[in-house]
Symmetry: C2
Subunit: 212 residues, 2 copies
């Protein structure tokens, strides 16, 4: 990669951007652009998110940004991918982390938290923009399907649900749709007390209705 490691006159090795291999620098810059896109979506929404705003926020030159992502479309489709990965990482809690007592309620808390987060609010911006934007639509649908499958599998694993029994499969799906509805409400106002009360009742309902 021809990166110089010539010592300075005082014997130290200069710590400059040039010391990071090109491939790694590109990867980091793309990562900064993705992070900045998500932050921008959270703070100023789809309309306010422009390639100029994102490159400034990421501290990346306009030229470099346009080289990697020539349009807002390219930038945002890449960000959808990145965002889906971030959301999947948030699913990482395992059944072992849940208490024995109040297990269902604790699982619901985790599931709801995935939809009451800046990452969900950024996804919501893309989701709604995708409704009327064909190029974005395809990317968002593909990735939401992937996220939906993972979220479903995650809940099954958290509560050790046998989804071949009774209405279990539908109750899991309903839980995820409920969580999405609660997330949409939370994007507008802080309604955490209302949400907690609904999740209490929902946990009790699931405990009675899920077939083991």
């Amino acid at each position: 990669m021809g990166v110089s490691t010539t010592p300075e006159p005082d014997g130290s090795v200069p710590v400059t951007a040039a010391r990071v291999p090109q491939g790694e620098r590109t990867r980091l810059m793309r990562l900064r652009l993705m992070e900045a896109t998500v932050e921008s979506l959270v703070e100023v929404g789809w309309t306010g998110t422009t390639t100029t705003v994102v490159s400034q926020r990421a501290g990346v030159s306009r030229g470099a940004q346009l080289h990697h992502f020539p349009s807002k479309q390219d930038l945002v489709v890449a960000a959808v991918d990145y965002l889906t990965e971030r959301r999947r990482l948030e699913l990482g809690v395992t059944a072992a982390d849940l208490p024995e007592q109040g297990r269902t309620r604790a699982a619901l808390e985790l599931i709801a938290a995935q939809y009451v987060s800046p990452v969900f609010f950024a996804a919501l911006e893309l989701w709604v923009a995708a409704r009327t934007d064909e190029a974005l639509h395809e990317a968002v649908v593909r990735l939401e399907r992937r996220f939906g499958r993972d979220a479903h599998a995650n809940m099954i694993a958290l509560l050790d649900i046998d989804e071949r029994r009774g209405r279990n499969r539908q109750l899991v799906q309903a839980t995820l749709d409920l969580a999405r509805g609660l997330g949409l409400a939370a994007s507008l106002t802080d309604d955490s007390a209302r949400r907690a009360s609904i999740l209490d009742a929902w946990a009790e309902t699931l405990d009675r209705e899920l077939e083991t």
Copy 2:
């Protein structure tokens, strides 16, 4: 109002805009602008909705439109109001319209339909835009509260629920949040089969869990 009704030479009375009193003409023009704003939100979303697009779509001169609604903000805040009224009108079905057999499932069909409609998709555009737009935020929060109260009262009436009993109140709230989550999913892809299956299971759950 000094509107001419002079007959034409052939004896007919000319049917022109001038025959409609000024107050009524203004009301109709505002109505056309509101309808056009909602249609524009449904078809091209918040970003694509501009005052120019709306005045063209409504067939209203740019000058007249700007006279009534000087900015996109003014136009959209008025449209939120109009939209809330339209959504409330959709709540007009009464318990008497529901069948005795499968009453809960039929009520859920009506409730879900309120969130899988162009009017909800337009509201969704405003909802998400309001998250990052202060002036719009206040209007949307106020009107969503009103719509939320009405939707709640509507479900209580449809299923003759005593909300002082058990977890009934929370189950009603959960149903509306579930319906919102299903509506959000439907905004992206047609998932009516999945939705029907969830509502089947949910109707059965409500029949078992609601206390009478």
